[in-house]
């Protein structure tokens, strides 16, 4: 059977650098950092006391007051991004076959704040009135509930689940959505990712692994992917959402098309719980898989939105993998880590970075990797590569590739390209 083509017809984002797609994109292009002291809880005794938080968010502004209480913050973020994307797609839901619209949202952790609160509540009650848990504990916490809640809000009866592969989660969501649509199993899939883990258990857990930057005196310059003085990633939070649609369906309703989803890839390092393979084995494989899926050559790619989390090991192996896959062309394309501005959105990273890649293709602008100081060079990184340091670059971007790698050794890759008949 012939596979169908899939295009992007709507976008939604709630990120540390903007509460809409427009605001997020403007700040990414202008190199604005979303980092600051943690406000979600008192982090003064933690090794890391800063993060990239979403600003000025009140779920009740978007979601019914009665319902919002039954949702972990991550689900609230997921819904707000989905609402923006669905509105942006201008689909007339009255005319759509709702059985053919699905929701696939990637989430790395789920309701970690809900989990914390409930366990703390249990600790307080277990020896007095007995163990007490809210009946909403489980349905608030579980990682699939964002997809469920979005379907309930809109009555979408198509494929519905979550994908979880740590920091690759929402790239896997996009990949699964792509496959369902190209196999003809859905007309439209609301694909995205969400995370809200900037709470004691999240920060404390990552701190214990020495995964986070501890540059508490300078949060805005802490995320510095590919610079020698990088000292770990900066936690981010939020959500991203893409409306993925079968091409003929999009054309029939006269939808605006941002870009075409050209191919996806997935692979595993099969190496270590948390460390990436030193030679970037899985990273190399996933980019090759995606190129093959897209039926594209390395030379077709103009921009790589890297995983690039600003960790000592990860950035080196990813840069090596890019050189291995792209050869001489690696020096001609632009590379950037938008995590230098947004921080690491964990399960939402893939969706937000896919949006950045789509907009790079649409607008012919590559957002920068900020915070690189002149001469702050790591001897294990080849600076002949164009990391788009500090300033956005205008160039034709016919196709962009977005990498995400997760703890557990999961790798997922998405390629988008300009839509042409």
């Amino acid at each position: 059977m012939e596979l169908k083509r899939v295009v992007v017809t709507g976008l939604g984002a709630l990120t540390p650098v903007g509460n809409t797609v427009a605001e997020t994109w403007e700040n990414l292009v202008n190199g604005v950092s979303g980092a600051g002291p943690i406000t979600h809880f008192d982090a003064s005794k933690f090794k890391t006391q800063f993060a990239c938080e979403v600003k000025g968010f009140n779920g009740a502004d978007f979601i019914d007051r009665k319902e919002v209480r039954k949702m972990d913050l991550y689900t609230q973020y997921a819904i707000v991004a989905a609402k923006e994307a669905i509105a942006d797609s201008e689909m007339d839901l009255e005319k759509e076959d709702l059985n053919k619209i699905g929701v696939i949202y990637g989430v790395g952790i789920g309701g970690i704040h809900t989990f914390e609160e409930e366990v703390l509540g249990y600790a307080q009650t277990k020896d007095t009135i007995g163990p007490k848990f809210s009946p909403f504990f489980i349905p608030k916490m579980i990682a699939d509930i964002a997809s469920g809640q979005i379907s309930i809000m809109y009555g979408f009866h198509g494929p519905n689940f979550t994908t979880t592969s740590a920091c690759a989660s929402s790239s896997n969501a996009i990949a699964d959505a792509f496959n369902y649509i190209r196999l003809g199993k859905a007309n439209v899939i609301v694909a995205g990712g969400a995370e809200a883990a900037i709470f004691p258990a999240g920060v404390g857990g990552f701190n214990a692994m020495h995964a986070l930057s501890t540059r508490n005196d300078d949060p805005q310059h802490a995320s510095r992917p590919f610079s020698a003085s990088r000292d770990g990633f900066i936690m981010g939070e939020g959500a991203g959402c893409l409306i993925l649609e079968e091409l003929e369906h999009a054309k029939a309703r006269g939808a605006k098309i941002y870009a075409e989803l050209a191919g996806v890839g997935a692979s595993a390092d099969a190496h270590h719980l948390t460390a990436s393979h030193p030679e970037g084995l899985g990273a190399k494989l996933v980019m090759l898989n995606a190129l093959e899926d897209a039926e594209m050559k390395p030379e077709d790619i103009d921009y790589i939105n890297v995983h690039g989390t600003s960790t000592p090991v990860g950035d080196v192996s990813e840069a090596k993998a890019i050189k291995d896959v792209f050869g001489e062309h690696a020096y001609k394309l632009n590379i950037s880590s938008t995590k230098s501005m947004t921080g690491h959105l964990l399960g939402a990273a893939g969706a937000v970075e896919a949006i950045a890649s789509v907009l790079a293709v649409k607008n012919d602008i590559v957002p920068p990797t900020i915070n690189h100081a002149e001469g702050d060079n790591d001897e294990n990184i080849d600076y002949e590569l164009n990391f788009t340091f500090n300033k956005a670059q205008k160039r034709t971007v016919n196709a962009a590739l977005s990498n995400t790698f997760g703890f557990g050794g999961h790798n997922a890759c998405v390629i988008v390209k300009k839509y042409a008949e």
């Binding site: 019914d64 007051r65 009665k66 209480r69 509540g121 009650t125 007095t128 009135i129 007995g130 007490k132 848990f133 809210s134 009946p135 909403f136 349905p139």
Partner: protein, 78 residues
């Protein structure tokens, strides 16, 4: 209104997202205040925490209205 009734009412307003004026003694959680089965279980748990009591399931099942809750708590709170 007793102090216990006032505290019960505050919990209901907070958890069910209803107006205080709707929380009358006769109001049924499910029929009048829009609670589903999970909401009702949550209310009972919040009463337990607020008043430091444990309400057994067979008793909790009989608490259907605001008045039922207040009476039970008045009789059982220490």
């Amino acid at each position: 209104m007793s102090e216990i009734a006032e505290r019960v009412k505050n919990i209901i307003v907070d958890k069910l997202g209803v107006e205080a004026s709707e929380v009358t003694t006769e109001a049924s959680f499910t029929n009048d205040l829009g609670a589903d089965s999970l909401d009702t279980v949550e209310l009972i748990m919040e009463f337990e925490k607020e008043f430091g009591i444990s309400i057994p399931d067979d008793q909790a099942e009989k608490i259907a209205t605001v008045g039922d809750a207040v009476s039970y708590i008045e009789a059982n709170a220490k």
